[in-house]
């Protein structure tokens, strides 16, 4: 009975989405307030019914209702309850329902947090979100209905959740990632609404900025969680594989990062408007592309379990309609926008422009590397793959260049920066960064040009960020007062940039100084990895709730002292008969020691992988710091306090020296 109600709720949500995509838009175009007033109730209703559908599906999982095909395929009565719950988005249908839930959640959030926006604007934004929702509800209902029944032959038990997904990282990774993907739909909707009514101004930028930032922050966390999960669960210690599915999430992140920065320029200085709109469209299109790549089955990976060509073509159609429609609108409306502000060639505007050029180049690079093999395959021009070396050789220089530019850009001023002043300003931070980098190189004992560049870029960003913070926080009333006077959005920027530096440092150090060894061991043997001695003490059978495992025991010694005891496992999940390697990691802020069991080679001996991973944690900590910066930035006062007309004209944030001033709006 319940599943049919879920189906009904989905259909009702679709109907509400159809109304939402038409009624408020007509109201906005014809200037009828009565029609615009429908926007909020419709959006709320859509959320309620999607939530209901989601809750019913979750209920079906928790009570083991195997008459529902999706539950039977993705769950099992032996699963612990939390995996039953996360299995809701463990497969194709449920994860799309989650997508739809997120979308209606974001739509609801727009209705709640945008009360001060003009009614015309909000109606258009909500209508655009409604249109996207129509597409996805249709997709779920027509091609991927999670409520399909297996009647009358109800299976006695389910086929179990893929053991790879039975993990805490995978409970959280998809919702976070989807929050990010779907979040860009809000920035997209704002851009489309602005194009429709031709109001591409600073106010528009200020409205869409927090939405973009928060979507970006979620996406950052989602990507980091995926990487962390791959590290301990899937990758034998690798943290990024340039797998097309990973790239699919990196693409909107890169263009979203560009969008955040260009929105800053549009808000503060009123320039780059057309560019910003284009980036908003591109970021959302890339989110859709990511969903298409992962969900259509064109890629074979852990993510694409069930593939069905019908689904792929439907998603491709959605993507096509979105891109073509928004670009046509862009082509007709964007030239209306005029730019009046001027800026010098060394201004902060120009530095942010270069930031955008680098980030968009990186997006293009990753895009080419990901799509080129797919396109060739589709055109039947041969099967090929583009491996990690391609991405490593092309992406690293761009990342380093972005870091170097970032450090300079931090010191630049809006409108105009004096070249001589900037050069003098950079001298000491540069010297300090070089010294620190040299010290790090000596500490890790080995110089390679790439390691040096990567570490230098990270140190340089850190030094420049703190230097600027020091400059800005000097105050007659003492340092503490000066620090406290900084706005939350400034602190957000500081954290965001420090997070970038941490990721750069982590990536460089672990790639250049990490040690990975595959060794043949039997109980009693020991192996060295870096300064650590790993002793294989024992291995034996163990029973888990839904698996049996070979349970290994290893002691880790440093300088003759035992630092930890690790228990990697080789699990055999009984229902699906699938083997899983569970690595065990002695995690630390500055290094991880990683042990994983490979296959059994003889009666006694096993293949064992031992790894020393310096600074690997910084990758994910850095991402968290970045995301924290994003959340801090949207907590800035100016988004909450309604700035009156008089105040808007006034100078709000004179900087420490008082030489220049930022003008909001």
């Amino acid at each position: 009975m319940y599943p049919e109600l879920g189906q009904l709720a989905l259909i009702l949500a679709l109907l509400l989405a159809v109304l939402l995509s038409v009624v408020p838009l007509v109201g906005a175009l014809t200037g009828r307030d009565s029609l615009q007033a429908f926007a909020r109730p419709l959006a709320s209703g859509m959320f309620v019914f999607t939530g209901l559908a989601f809750a019913i599906l979750a209920h079906a999982f928790l009570v083991d209702d195997f008459s529902v095909a999706y539950v039977a395929n993705n769950s099992n009565s032996m699963l612990p309850w939390y995996y039953k719950f996360s299995a809701v988005w463990g497969g194709h249908e449920g994860s799309l329902l989650l997508w739809a839930l997120m979308l209606s959640g974001w739509t609801l959030a727009v209705t709640i947090f945008s009360r001060k926006l003009p009614s015309v604007m909000i109606s258009q934004v909500l209508s655009v979100l409604g249109m996207i929702a129509v597409g996805f509800f249709l997709f779920v209902i027509i091609t991927s209905n999670p409520f399909d029944r297996l009647l009358p032959n109800i299976p006695a038990d389910g086929r179990d959740l893929n053991p790879l997904l039975q993990d805490i990282g995978l409970i959280m990774h998809p919702p976070m990632l989807y929050m990010g993907y779907v979040g860009f739909s809000v920035a997209f909707a704002f851009a489309i609404a602005a194009l429709i009514n031709g109001r591409l101004d600073a106010a528009w930028a200020r409205w869409s900025r927090p939405w973009t930032t928060v979507a970006w922050a979620f996406l950052t966390v989602g990507i980091a969680l995926g990487s962390w999960w791959a590290y301990y669960e899937l990758g034998w210690g690798g943290w990024w594989f340039w797998d097309p599915v990973e790239n699919a999430s990196l693409l909107p992140w890169l263009s979203g990062t560009a969008l955040m920065h260009s929105l800053a320029v549009t808000e503060k200085r009123g320039v780059f408007k057309s560019w910003t709109v284009l980036l908003a469209i591109v970021s959302f299109a890339l989110s859709l592309l990511g969903t298409f790549l992962v969900r259509s089955g064109v890629l074979t990976s852990v993510h694409a379990f069930a593939s069905d060509p019908e689904r792929g073509s439907f998603l491709l159609m959605l993507l096509g309609i979105t891109v073509v429609a928004s670009l046509v609108l862009y082509a007709f409306r964007a030239p209306v926008v005029h730019v009046r502000s001027r800026y010098g060639s060394l201004s902060r505007e120009v530095f942010l422009l270069f930031n955008n050029v680098l980030l968009v180049s990186a997006t293009a690079l990753v895009g080419i590397g990901t799509l080129y093999p797919l396109v060739l395959d589709y055109l039947e021009m041969g099967k090929l793959s583009i491996g990690e070396p391609f991405f490593n050789t092309t992406f690293s220089p761009l990342a380093v260049a972005t870091g170097l530019l970032l450090g300079v850009g931090i010191f630049s001023r809006w409108k105009k920066t004096d070249g001589g002043w900037l050069a003098r300003k950079l001298l000491w931070p540069l010297a300090l960064s070089t010294a620190i980098t040299a010290a790090v190189m000596i500490g890790y004992g080995g110089f390679t040009p790439w390691a040096f560049l990567g570490v230098f870029a990270a140190v340089w960003v850190t030094v420049a960020t703190f230097w600027d913070l020091w400059d800005k926080s000097s105050s007659r009333n003492g340092r503490l007062y000066g620090l406290r006077r900084q706005s939350r959005s400034y602190w957000g920027m500081v954290l965001g940039h420090l997070g970038v530096a941490m990721v750069m440092a982590g990536a460089t150090i672990v790639s250049n100084y990490g040690i990975e060894r595959d060794v043949r061991m039997q109980p009693g043997d020991s192996a060295m990895v870096g300064d650590y001695r790993i002793v294989f003490t024992d291995i034996g059978q163990r029973e888990g709730p839904n698996y049996t495992s070979e349970y290994g025991s290893f002691d880790v010694y440093l300088d003759g002292k035992q630092v930890s005891e690790l228990h990697p496992e080789k699990r055999n999940y009984t229902v699906g008969m699938s083997m899983m390697t569970e690595a065990d990691i002695d995690a630390g802020l500055f290094r991880d020691v990683f042990v994983a069991i490979g296959e059994r080679i003889s009666d006694e001996a096993w293949a064992i992988r031992v790894q020393y991973k310096p600074l690997v944690r910084w990758l994910w900590l850095g991402a968290l710091v970045m995301a924290l910066g994003g959340f801090l930035a949207i907590a800035d006062k100016r988004y909450r306090i309604r700035v009156s007309k008089e105040k808007e004209a006034k100078v709000i944030q004179p900087d420490a020296s008082g030489k220049t001033a930022e003008v909001t709006s």
Binding site: R342, G344, I368, L384, I386, F390, T393, T394, S578
Partner: protein, 156 residues
């Protein structure tokens, strides 16, 4: 020239230079890092280049896995049931690597016809078959059927 135009020109030139460098790097890197796929029949026929990083795939031949007793070196044959190629690998094989399973190996073919793999991929699902392998098996199946038909018609 008008100073604003000059400034714009400089910015545009910078952008062009940046894009040119990016395109150059991309094509260079692409040329270095494209890994073409070959099936055992193609490799046995000598169609695959030696000492270039390529991908090869097929089914692991029954009874072909040989391990060395003192290291992780392993040798096995990959087949599409028409031809087979010896593959050597030093390292940990994936969980679902087994005889009769589909695999894709990355590596180089040496002059003796031995495929030295640096990476072996199998999938985390026993029903999964890498698409390239599935296709090459189909092709091999078809050409065998054609050959049989030809043989039959020849005998008439």
């Amino acid at each position: 020239m008008h100073p604003i135009r000059k400034k714009r020109l400089i910015i545009v030139l910078f952008l062009m230079a940046g894009i040119a460098i990016a395109v150059g790097l991309t094509t260079y890197a692409l040329r270095q890092n494209i890994n073409l796929f070959y099936d055992p029949t193609q490799i046995a026929a000598g169609e695959a280049p030696t000492d270039v990083r390529i991908r090869a795939g097929g089914m692991v031949e029954e009874g072909s896995i040989q391990r060395e007793s003192d290291s992780l070196k392993v040798q096995f044959r990959v087949t599409d049931y028409s031809a087979s190629v010896p593959v050597q690998y030093d390292g940990i094989l994936p969980d679902l690597f087994a005889e009769g399973q589909g695999v894709v190996a990355m590596g180089r073919l040496n002059s003796e016809g031995l495929f030295v793999a640096d990476q072996v991929l199998a999938k985390h699902d026993e029903n999964y078959m890498p698409p390239e392998v599935a296709e090459s098996l189909e092709r091999a199946e078809k050409s065998r059927a054609d050959a049989e038909k030809a043989a039959q018609s020849a005998s008439y």
